[in-house]
C-alpha cells in the first residue's frame, strides 16, 4: 500500500465520519468543494469574459444581470471572482504541498537520525523560522520582481519550519513508543517502519497542519497581492481585486472589494473548520 493510498483512505474515512455527525463540516466541505470547482471550471462558469471591458455599465451595483456588480472598467465582478479562483487557490496549494513534503521530510529525518543530523536540521528549522514568512516573500519579490511565483516559493520555504517542528516532535514521540522498538527488534526494515508505521501515525497531525497552513498561505498571498507585489494584471487574483476595488469602496461601491474578500474569508473559514474538526476526530479515533 502506498503512502498516498494510506493517506487518502484514512483522511477520506475520517472526513466521512466527521461529516455524518457535524453539519458545520458538511457546510465547510460544500464550500471547499465549491471553491475547488470554481478553481477548475471558473473560466467556463463565468457568465461573461472576465477580462472583457464594458460588458456592462461601469461600477454598477449588483443586479440580476451582474450578480456581483461591475468594476471600474465595466467588467463583470462575478466572472472575475470565478476566474480569479484558480490563481488565488493554486498558490496556497503549492505552498502547503511543498512545505508539507519538505517539512515532513526534514522533521522525520531529524527525529529518525537524531544526534548531529537532528542538530543541523533543527538549526536550519530555527533559521528559517526566524525570518517571518511575509518578509521572506517580500525579499523574494525584491530579488526576482513582482508576481506570484517568487512569493509562493518563498512562503513554501517559510512554512517548512512549522511543519518540520510539528513532525519532528510527533515523530520523536512516536519513535519513543515501545511498538517502534518492537518493530525494530523484529527486524522490520527501516523503510517499512518509516512509511508503514511512522508516516501514517503522523498523517492526521500533518493534515491538520496542512489545512491551517492553507488558510494562512491564502491570507499571506492575498496580502502580498494586496500590497501590489503579487499577481500582476491582467491576471487577477482575489487579493488584487480587493486592492483594486478600494477607490470604489470609498466612492460607495463596496462590492468591488467585498465580494472577492468574502470569498477569501469563506474559503479560509471553511478550510479552518475542516482542519479543526478532522484533527478532533483523528485525535478521538486514536485514543
Amino acid at each position: 500500500m502506498s503512502v498516498a493510498q494510506l493517506a487518502g483512505g484514512r483522511v477520506a474515512a475520517v472526513v466521512r465520519k466527521a461529516a455524518t455527525r457535524d453539519p458545520l463540516v458538511i457546510a465547510a466541505v460544500v464550500v471547499v468543494v465549491g471553491v475547488a470547482v470554481m478553481a477548475v471550471f471558473g473560466q467556463a462558469l463565468a457568465p461573461y469574459d472576465p477580462d472583457a471591458i464594458y460588458v456592462g455599465p461601469v461600477s454598477a451595483p449588483p443586479s440580476l444581470a451582474y450578480p456581483f456588480g461591475t468594476d471600474d472598467l465595466g467588467r463583470d465582478i462575478l466572472s472575475r471572482v470565478l476566474a480569479g479562483t484558480a490563481p488565488s487557490v493554486i498558490g496556497p496549494v503549492i505552498v502547503v504541498v511543498a512545505s508539507s513534503l519538505l517539512g515532513a521530510a526534514l522533521g522525520i529525518t531529524a527525529a529518525w537520525f537524531g544526534g548531529a543530523v537532528d542538530g543541523i536540521a533543527s538549526r536550519v528549522i530555527e533559521l528559517i523560522f526566524a525570518i517571518p514568512g511575509l518578509v521572506l516573500a517580500v525579499l523574494a519579490v525584491a530579488m526576482f520582481g513582482k508576481g506570484l511565483l517568487a512569493p509562493t516559493l518563498a512562503l513554501a520555504i517559510a512554512y517548512v519550519p512549522i511543519v518540520a517542528r510539528l513532525i519532528r516532535a510527533g515523530a520523536r514521540q512516536e519513535l519513543g513508543k515501545p511498538y517502534m522498538a518492537a518493530l525494530h527488534i523484529q527486524g522490520v526494515g527501516s523503510a517499512a517502519i518509516c512509511f508503514r508505521h511512522l508516516v501514517p501515525a503522523l498523517l492526521p497531525a500533518l493534515f491538520a497542519q496542512t489545512t491551517i497552513g492553507f488558510g494562512y498561505a491564502m491570507l499571506d498571498l492575498a496580502a502580498i497581492s494586496f500590497l501590489g507585489l503579487g499577481a500582476q494584471p491582467p491576471a487577477s487574483d482575489w487579493g488584487v481585486m480587493i486592492a483594486g476595488g478600494q477607490p470604489a469602496l470609498i466612492a460607495g461601491a463596496p462590492e468591488q472589494s467585498m465580494f472577492p474578500a468574502l470569498f477569501v474569508v469563506l474559503t479560509v473559514l471553511a478550510v479552518n473548520v475542516l482542519g479543526a474538526r478532522v484533527t478532533t476526530w483523528a485525535e478521538r479515533g486514536e485514543r
Binding site: R21, D22, P247, A248, M258
Partner: protein
C-alpha cells in the same frame, strides 16, 4: 443541538458580512457620473490669498522624491524651493523672474540679466557665477535637461549679474526651456560642498525660492517654511509640509477627512467623492498631460504605423475619457497638446493647424483592414508596458488590450516597477521584450518641439525616444528648421509642415488629454491649478481666502 447552532450562527455571521459587503443600498448616487466638463471653465489659478496660514500640508501623489535636486527628479516640492531663471505663469506664458531679461542678442548669443535683489536662503546674494554653474550642471548627458543644451557652445559670465550663452546654432526652444527646471538656479558653493549628498534628505538643497527647505524625514514628510526675504514678497503660509501618498484611495481618504490640505493630480476615480465633499473642492485646470502609447522597437508590429493606426481606430476615446478620466479630459488629435503653445507668440498659427488635423475616430472595420494590410503575424502577442501602481494606466492597458482583441491582435500587459520601467527609457535591452509603452506625459514648460524632436528625429539629433526608427528627411529638416529659426512665425510654419506629415503615423497613439486636477480644502486659495505647477512656485500666493 450544539453543532447546528454553531452552523446557524456562522451562517448568520457570514450573511451579515455579505449584507455589509454590497447588498446594502447605495448611500449616495450612482458613483459613475462621468459628465464631460466644459473646457472653457477650466481654471489656471485660484485668486491670490489674502490671509496668513500657519501651516499647510500638501500631499505629493507622485510619492516621495528620490532627490530634491531639480536635475535629478520631478517633484512638485521642488518648484517652490528652487526657482527657474524665468517664471511660467499659470496660463503658460513666460515672464521674467530671477532673470529680468533673457533674450537673443544675435542668432547664436543669448544674454541673461539677473535681478540684483535675489539671495539664497542663507543670505548669500545670487551671482552670475551661480547661474552659470547651474546651467553648466545640466550639460552632462546624465541630466534630465540635457536635450535643452545640445546646441549650447559655451556659457560665460559676462558681468556680476549677467550670463551669456553662446550657441552653435540658433535655438528657438531655449528661452522657454530655462523657464522650466532646466533653468533652475542653485547655490554653487552649497552644491560643491554638499557633493553627493546634494538633494538628499541629509544634504538638502540651497535655492532662492519662496519656501526654505527645513527638514526631510524620509518616508514621512518634507517640511518647508516661508522665505521671509523672498524677492517677490514672503508667502502667506508659515510652514508648508509635503507628505507622500501614492495610493489613490488613501489620498482620497486623507483629503476628504481633512488630514491633508491639498494635492495636485488627485485621482479622477474619486471625482464624485471630491465633488460631493463639504470640506474642500476639486479644481480643474488646463494641462499638457496626455495619455498615450507608443512603439519601443524598430522591428515587430509596434513599429508598423498601420498597426498603430488600427489600434487608434479601435479605441473609443469618449469611453476612455468617461471611464479612466471620469470625464476629466478631452480627446487630443496628436501628441503635442494645445496648451503647450497657449502662451506662445504664434499660438493662433499652431491652433489653426491643430484644428485641421483629423480627430481620432472609432472605426473597427477600417482598423481590421489595416491589420490585414499590415501583414503582421497576429499570432504573436504584443506587449504593452505600464508603470506599476497607476490605476489609470492599468485601466488604459486593459482598454488597449480589449481594443486589440476586437481587431484580432493579442495584447499582453507588462506592469513594471518604477526602476524597471525607467530602464525602458535608457536600456535598449529592456525594450526588447515589449512592443509598446503606455504613459502619461506632460510638458512642464511651454514649447511645441519637445515631443516631436524626441520621437521623430534620428537618435543622434536628439530623437531619444525614436525607438521605432522613424525616419523622414522632410520631417527632420522641418523640425531642425523650427528649432533653429528664432522668428516665431517662421518656426511655427516649419513645425506645422512637419506635423502634417508625421501626425497620421501616430508615433504615439494619443488617447486623451487630461485636465490638471487639484483638490484644496475650503478656506485656502491662491495656488496655481494648471500644469504650470511643475515649473513655477505654485504655492507663492497660497493662503487663506
Amino acid at each position: 443541538m450544539r453543532t447546528t447552532r454553531i452552523t446557524a450562527t456562522v451562517a448568520g455571521a457570514v450573511a451579515a458580512l455579505m449584507f455589509l459587503s454590497g447588498c446594502t443600498a447605495r448611500d449616495d448616487a450612482s458613483p459613475n457620473t462621468a459628465e464631460p466638463v466644459d473646457s472653457s471653465k477650466l481654471v489656471s489659478s485660484l485668486p491670490a490669498a489674502t490671509g496668513e496660514v500657519d501651516e499647510v500640508t500638501w500631499a505629493l501623489v507622485e510619492g516621495e522624491p528620490s532627490t530634491l535636486d531639480p536635475a535629478g527628479d520631478y517633484s512638485l516640492a521642488i518648484p517652490n524651493l528652487c526657482e527657474n531663471l524665468l517664471q511660467i505663469s499659470p496660463d503658460f506664458t513666460v515672464e521674467p523672474g530671477v532673470a529680468t531679461s533673457a533674450e537673443w542678442v544675435d542668432p547664436v548669443t543669448f544674454v541673461i540679466d539677473l535681478r540684483d535683489d535675489v539671495a539664497f536662503w542663507d543670505g548669500t546674494p545670487l551671482t552670475a557665477d551661480d547661474v552659470a554653474f547651474s546651467l553648466e550642471r545640466n550639460r552632462v548627458e546624465t541630466s534630465a535637461w540635457f536635450p535643452a543644451f545640445v546646441l549650447v557652445d559655451t556659457i560665460e559670465v559676462t558681468g556680476d549679474l549677467q550670463v551669456t550663452v553662446h550657441f552653435t546654432a540658433p535655438d528657438s526652444t531655449f528661452r522657454d526651456a530655462i523657464a522650466g527646471a532646466a533653468g533652475a538656479v542653485l547655490s554653487k558653493a552649497f552644491v560643491e560642498q554638499a557633493g553627493d549628498t546634494f538633494g538628499t534628505s541629509t544634504g538638502g538643497v540651497m535655492c532662492t525660492g519662496p519656501y526654505v527647505f527645513d527638514e526631510w524625514t524620509p518616508g514621512t514628510e518634507i517640511v518647508t517654511s516661508a522665505n521671509p526675504d523672498y524677492w517677490g514678497g514672503a508667502p502667506l503660509v508659515g510652514t508648508l509640509t509635503y507628505t507622500f501618498i501614492t495610493d489613490g484611495a488613501t489620498l482620497a481618504n486623507a483629503l476628504l477627512a481633512g488630514e491633508v490640505d491639498g494635492a495636485f493630480n488627485v485621482p479622477p476615480a474619486s471625482r464624485d467623492n471630491f465633488a460631493g465633499s463639504d470640506s474642500g473642492r476639486l479644481v480643474l485646470g488646463p494641462s499638457t498631460a496626455s495619455y498615450s502609447f507608443g512603439p519601443t522597437n524598430s522591428t515587430g508590429a509596434g513599429a508598423d504605423p498601420k498597426i498603430r493606426q488600427a489600434l487608434s481606430l479601435a479605441i473609443d476615446r469618449e469611453q476612455f475619457i468617461a471611464t479612466v478620466l471620469h470625464g476629466l479630459g478631452e480627446p487630443q488629435s496628436t501628441f503635442t497638446p494645445p496648451f503647450a503653445w497657449a502662451g506662445m507668440e504664434a499660438a493662433d498659427q499652431y491652433t489653426a493647424a491643430y484644428d485641421e488635423l483629423a480627430a481620432p475616430e472609432l472605426d473597427l472595420e477600417q482598423a481590421k483592414q489595416l491589420v490585414e494590410e499590415s501583414g503582421v503575424d497576429t499570432a504573436t502577442p504584443l506587449v504593452v508596458a505600464i508603470p506599476a501602481g497607476a490605476k489609470e494606466l492599468s485601466q488604459t492597458a486593459a482598454i488597449i488590450q480589449a481594443a486589440g482583441a476586437q481587431i484580432g491582435l493579442t495584447i499582453e500587459i507588462d506592469e513594471r516597477q518604477p526602476t524597471d520601467f525607467s530602464q525602458i527609457f535608457f536600456d535598449p535591452a529592456a525594450r526588447e521584450s515589449i512592443d509598446f509603452v503606455a504613459t502619461v506625459g506632460y510638458l512642464d514648460a511651454p514649447g511645441v518641439l519637445g515631443y516631436a524632436q524626441q520621437f521623430l528625429l534620428p537618435a543622434e539629433l536628439g530623437g531619444f525616444f525614436n525607438w521605432s526608427g522613424y525616419s523622414n528627411d522632410e520631417v527632420t529638416a522641418d523640425l531642425q528648421t523650427a528649432r533653429t529659426t528664432l522668428d516665431p512665425a517662421a518656426s511655427a510654419d516649419a513645425f506645422i509642415a512637419a506635423q502634417q506629415i508625421f501626425a497620421p503615423d501616430q508615433l504615439q497613439v494619443t488617447l486623451a488629454s487630461a485636465y490638471q486636477t487639484t483638490f484644496l480644502q475650503n478656506g485656502l486659495t491662491g495656488v496655481t491649478t494648471s500644469v504650470a505647477v511643475y515649473s513655477s512656485p505654485w504655492a507663492l500666493h497660497l493662503g487663506s481666502e
